[in-house]
């Protein structure tokens, strides 16, 4: 399997594979609890073992997000976070030692201009973009811009995806494929979706791209479980929850601790 590329998330995913383990992909929204603290938090992730940082841009209408991320995003927007802050967060995540990708709803990219967004992202050191509400059929401009700047384009697949859809989506993807483990929105769950291993298997049948699995992973044991069958373990809400209702320093310490646990988990999976 040699689907990873020399750009984007390719090198870090290849390095994890060399080590015989899954990668840890850690999500946080920019601007929560405030912009400066969120920039520090992005660095904390890499410093504590996250391989890839998903820099989330808060959006007014986040249809794929559950209560935890939604609450953080709403508060971040109320405090005035802007799309410009994403690029600072990308740089901060990179300084922490992880490879940064942006996760954003599509209208925020459209509004800036797809070409300009891609150029700004590449200039900030971003490896690519995850687009939860963009399917390849609507992504012509983004495919062109990501080609031009050597950026990963990470589309999502779901348990409901048909074999035809899996083929279409993975053919348009670069870097890795984001497999949503359950039907539903983001949020920590008691158990990883039973459909996830079968979905990963179906994805592997149509592409050599690494497969990341997200939605619902919240602790070391779950991270180890998912690392057993996926190339990357994606964690969001559980990390965001460490920052909720805590003073910044206390929150950052808790965030670092959970990241270390999850990083240990992905090393136990195989």
């Amino acid at each position: 399997m040699s689907a990873t590329t020399a750009t984007g998330t390719g090198p870090v995913l290849a390095a994890c594979r060399e080590e015989g383990r899954a990668a840890l992909v850690a999500y946080l929204p920019v601007g929560y609890p405030d912009v400066p603290t969120s920039l520090r938090a992005m660095a904390v992730l890499g410093e504590n073992g996250a391989d890839i940082v998903e820099v989330g841009m808060p959006y007014s209408d986040p249809v794929m997000d559950g209560p935890v991320i939604q609450r953080a995003a709403t508060e971040a927007l109320a405090k005035g976070v802007t799309v410009d802050d994403v690029f600072a967060a990308v740089a901060a995540a990179s300084e922490g030692g992880a490879t940064p990708v942006v996760m954003t709803y599509w209208n925020l990219v459209l509004r800036r201009g797809v070409a300009r967004y891609a150029a700004d992202l590449a200039a900030a050191g971003g490896a690519g973009m995850i687009t939860p509400d963009l399917v390849p059929e609507e992504a012509g401009e983004w495919i062109a811009a990501s080609d031009e700047h050597g950026l990963d384009r990470v589309f999502l697949v779901a348990p409901s995806s048909t074999p035809e859809r899996l083929a279409t989506v993975t053919a348009a993807s670069r870097g890795f494929v984001y497999a949503t483990a359950v039907m539903g929105v983001t949020g920590a769950r008691g158990a990883v979706g039973a459909e996830a291993p079968a979905l990963v298997e179906r994805v592997r049948a149509v592409t050599d791209l690494p497969v990341g699995v997200g939605l619902g992973v919240s602790d070391r044991a779950q991270a180890a479980q998912v690392a057993g069958f996926a190339d990357a373990v994606i964690v969001g809400s559980a990390l965001v929850a460490q920052l909720l209702d805590r003073e910044p320093e206390e929150g950052l310490a808790a965030l670092g601790a959970l990241t270390r646990e999850l990083a240990a988990g992905v090393r136990e999976g195989r």
């Binding site: 249809v63 559950g66 709403t74 927007l77 802007t82 209208n107 399917v135 609507e138 779901a158 409901s160």
Partner: protein, 418 residues
Amino acid sequence: MTAERPTSEQPTPEQPVPAPPVPGRFGAYGGRYVPEALVPALEELDEARQKAQLDPDFTDELARLHRTYTGRPSILTEVPRFAAHAGGARVVLKREDLNHTGSHKINNVLAQALLTVRMGKRRMIAETGAGQHGVATATAAALMGLECTVYMGRVDTERQALNVARMRILGAEVIPVEHGSATLKDAINEAMRDWVTNVGHTHYCLGTVTGPHPFPEMVRDFHQIIGEEAREQVLELAGRLPDAVVACVGGGSNAMGIFHRFVPDDGVRLIGVEAGGDGVETGRHAARMATAEPGVLHGAMSYLMQDRWGQTLETHSVSAGLDYPSVGPEHAHLRDTGRAEYRYATDEQVMDAFRLLCRTEGIIPALESAHALAATLDLGRELGPDGLILVNLSGRGDKDMHTAAEWFGYVDEEGNAR
């Protein structure tokens, strides 16, 4: 009345609107901007509705329900005492307010409920602003033995408390949404979250001509009966086509329903009326066409009220049903091609027109529909006594009594009669 919205590079009105070249696209607008998890459900829905629309079992059953349940065809009412305030032009109302459940919404919902059953799903979810779509969905679910959940912004549950009670009496679960502005757009977000989670057994009965393909096209098709009937009826009544067809535009379903059959009639002006709220200059409004900025919300590319970063702006209207930051993509296309014109009416103009229809004709319209009436007053003065205006009276005003009674000072803040 506010001036007509500026439109750019309008082609001659004689030019017919070309058919959209790509399914689900209306010029540059429409499309399908959704989480991948929903794509199979949208494809299933698209296939099911295309088959159904050609299947006599479906079309006959829908026609039977329209006749025996909804009360179609809805009648035309000429309103001369109202028209006297509109420059003496002839004004006729298409009485969708007389449909079962009190608005045009039932046309679409009955069809989607039949589709839900055909797709083998057992649950319908819906979003609602003013409550009319929620009431219609709860009604159809009761009729067909389906489970029903309706999402409604907390703000709207308060101003439309009676409709919340109606939905609950009909057996639906009503979930107030606290997020964001707690109005219609947030109810749609919540309905989409539910759908992503439960798509296996749940159909999302979207209430207007927005959302990802096939909703804009499908909902329009289910409402085009309004325009088909109205065109025949007005020809019979007046012996000619109207000079203008006027309808309010929130998401735009009643307007697309009545406009669609008239699109090929070059001499008929199509006029959509948006919520001007406190006035476009105040920023507190829902006149999407006034700024005409393209963007993506809830799965479709259309005009969108957004800030410089692309975050959705909050809207305002006295009418919960028009309080929506985007608009159906086909309307955006009709505006760009010049085939339809869009105006707006402020809350104050709307309430004046509302009261005028009540007092001159004994008809209490929905506040949404009163936007179309407000525009008609101005348009009639422009056209003069030779003008003939067809107005879609999309809903009745029972649900708005509390708002109106407060506006006119008939009740105090506690709701007690003064």
